[in-house]
């Protein structure tokens, strides 16, 4: 049996920061002060700074030279980018991965789905979000395309973390287990083996409710994003 190496402080700090973003402790636009975090996390600055570089590359925080780091605040154009890119990546993944060739990859989906259900029933909000990310990643991973999966994961995190979806989800308390059911249905459709059916399920799967009145909640309205929002609303209820 292989013993696993103890995780580095960089890795721990990265995960801790992600949780702070997921939980809403750090909100979009918030300043991220290094010294403050070193105390909270019990880590010295060098590893913390490395962790912040990782999150910066993922687009979750934004660094301004000599002025500090801020949690990324998304504009309508950003949301347009995220949703459109996500859809394309999903499309590509389904075309490559459905019907499933390697059964072992499905195990990962099931495992994530099970954990997702556990977290949903126990009301563990952060766990639900984390496992939702893992489930979707594993679905994309059915394609056997690691870069595709990685790109998708990054996009998904940006959406989850920076949109304040946590608070919105917290408001609608009953939707937790419903969400789980929807994910289960998606996996069933995937196992049925029809790419078209999966595309259809995914089209209805997007959490589009948060787009209601989105123009008023965020800034940065580009021509592209406004046109896109109009199209989405016409085509999708």
């Amino acid at each position: 049996m292989r013993i696993e190496a103890p995780p580095s402080m960089v890795q721990l700090a990265t995960e801790a920061l992600m949780r702070m973003l997921l939980s809403g402790k750090l909100q979009p636009g918030d300043r991220v002060v290094e010294n403050q975090l070193t105390q909270e996390l019990g880590v010295s600055r060098p590893p913390l700074r490395e962790a912040m570089r990782v999150l910066e590359q993922q687009g979750l925080i934004t660094q301004q030279p000599r002025r500090g780091a801020f949690v990324t605040r998304l504009t309508l154009h950003d949301i347009y980018e995220i949703v459109t890119l996500r859809r394309e990546l999903e499309r590509m993944a389904v075309d490559l991965g459905v019907p499933v060739r390697e059964q072992s990859r499905l195990q990962r989906c099931h495992a994530a789905l099970d954990r997702h259900g556990d977290c949903a029933r126990s009301g563990d909000w952060i766990g639900v979000l984390e496992q939702a990310v893992e489930f979707h990643s594993s679905v994309i991973g059915l394609s056997g395309h690691r870069r595709l999966e990685e790109a998708y994961r990054s996009i998904q995190l940006q959406m989850l973390l920076c949109m304040g979806m946590n608070r919105q989800a917290r408001a609608s308390g009953e939707s937790l287990v419903d969400d789980w059911a929807r994910h289960r249905r998606l996996l069933e459709v995937i196992e049925s083996g029809s790419p078209e059916a999966v595309h259809a399920e995914l089209a209805g799967h997007g959490e589009m409710t948060f787009l209601d009145g989105i123009e008023d909640r965020v800034g940065g309205h580009s021509p592209e994003s406004l046109a896109w929002l109009k199209r989405v609303r016409e085509g999708d209820t």
Copy 2:
């Protein structure tokens, strides 16, 4: 006029490392020793480590905990991933960006193309590669989709840096200015405004010659990648 902030050591180190990869000074599989680089670059370890985190996120180097960093060595499956994902991103970008709506974005393409030509004529290899990346990025940027452009850029760098394309290009000396001509033609087609024509041009634009005998030069043959390589060779000469 805004004065620009002096670049941080992290930024300088990142760029320097990239040049070392582009120039072939660091080759795929090479160990990257921190202390060694601090001496060569005249930077201390913390900023260098941050720079390495950035490159790790971009997939250019791979870190093994407590064992050091290595320049990423690509497998056939990796190349399959890179080429297929790149093609999808290009397709999406052209559909979004052609015909060009914002003329100002074209300026960036022309500027990069001009610099590309300058470097090609003066025989500046690294410059040629850098400007080729910038040109393609700016073409993708016509879509106004920053995340798309960023994903494309990352993919492109992985391909350029880790495939040892530099040495291959160096071997065929005359192709430098030819490359430039091909890029010019691409931009002309884009300005003509037909997405289909651009797709056609891009299909022939890929540097597919390096796929000749690729199975023997790299390891990691997955079922997906082998099937893909077969399809590519049947469909594209």
